[in-house]
Symmetry: C2
Amino acid sequence: MACTEEPPEKHCWVCFATEREDRVAEWVSPCRCRGCTKWIHQNCLQRWLDEKQKGNGGGAVSCPQCGTEYRIVFPKMGPLVYFLQQADRALSRASPFAAAGVVVGTVYWSAVTYGAVTVMQVVGHKKGLDVMERADPLFLLMGLPTIPVMLVLGKMIRWEDYVVRLWQRHSAKLNGLVPGLGRTLPRMPTDGGYGGDHVSVSRTLCGALIFPSIANLVGRLMFRRVTSNLQRTILGGIAFVVIKGILKVYFKQQQYLIQANRHILDYPAREERADDHSEEDNEDSGNE
Amino acid sequence: MACTEEPPEKHCWVCFATEREDRVAEWVSPCRCRGCTKWIHQNCLQRWLDEKQKGNGGGAVSCPQCGTEYRIVFPKMGPLVYFLQQADRALSRASPFAAAGVVVGTVYWSAVTYGAVTVMQVVGHKKGLDVMERADPLFLLMGLPTIPVMLVLGKMIRWEDYVVRLWQRHSAKLNGLVPGLGRTLPRMPTDGGYGGDHVSVSRTLCGALIFPSIANLVGRLMFRRVTSNLQRTILGGIAFVVIKGILKVYFKQQQYLIQANRHILDYPAREERADDHSEEDNEDSGNE
């Protein structure tokens, strides 16, 4: 209120100097403000703008009091500078997409390589190379990366969980039909962790990628008499999936039974020690 | 307070049923609680535990009132189940590391491939293949991935920024020594964005990876008479770096000068339009 009237001489609202104190300084009245905030030194406002625009040199800045946007003029830039600025901006805008392309390319190329290695592992080194050399390159570039994708998708089919759930749902009926197969459960555990546990991304990925090697190894161990590399690896893969599935179903079912048969005990020796309650407390806090 | 005395008959604090209402139910007193929270049905406590342990079947649960940890016993698991449990845990623990290994392997393999492609690009396709076939495989597996690493590290040396900063620091002295080279700046802009702007990771990566292709292209365009592929690409690379550096220094210096010469204007036609203030306000809000 004391400042609505214009003071008798110019007065900078940043450095508080008056017109008389510095007669060469350039003054500017950049906004709609009146009174004692009307005038400011050009240099003081420039410093204040630098502070406000820290980092980005082109942002609009308004007067904090009246909200008027300051009108900042720049010297005209030459055509070369303008071209360089546009090129710089275009590169800055394009680089995230280019980087994403690099990442996609990296993953794609690794998938192609993995596919080629897998083909050689499954049909044999020499035959695999022959097959790939004879194939259409475009077909290879499309087909090879689908091998790891298919393996991961296949690994995501959790058929063992389905078998376990089916078993649990029908175990009561089975008990009735086949005597001695199971006993009546004291309780039904909740479905948290026994039917289907949480799917770990890293485990699915690694399991899928190592599967051809395991299939090859199991084939070599179990089907030595099969001469065809392809047949042996496929048989090995099937054998591994079946054995692992049976073990997994058995394990899940046992976990389910263990949970179903859990029992909560009475607090020990309660009646006898009711008199020395404080001592009991100390012991327990020591044990926990 | 009403509950410190033990009631005359057992009373479940979950379902509120008394001993008389269900004579076959199993009772348990699992904690140090007395009075009306001493007894609970085994089944009610099991359901309550299931709720508490949701998701993880093995966590410890304590009485919400006295804090005593419930003593839960499970049937003994057979050796096969124990082995399967340990194997499952080991796999779960190892899988994040294995997945990290897959990622590292993917990046490594792409770096090897990029290195090989770059060698072929720089020394020529046929000669590059010859060189790599004659080289020690171990040396190739170690040396090829260092090519993209070196390119990225080289790209991170921002010598142009250094030149710009040097120029700006000594421009006052230069003005004195060489008349007419520059004029005195009205102000010194802050160092935000003109000396060294923020380093974009994606731009550095992409710029580094595309550099050999650009060097090759510039070499082919500018040094057609050089017959050696290697020499031509190296010359092309040097020419590109020098030209780009000069343009960058020029651009940064111009940006610096533009900022140094910015000027803030007075609010337009202030004095003349002081009488019709309301109209002026309306016009301005329409323009903004």
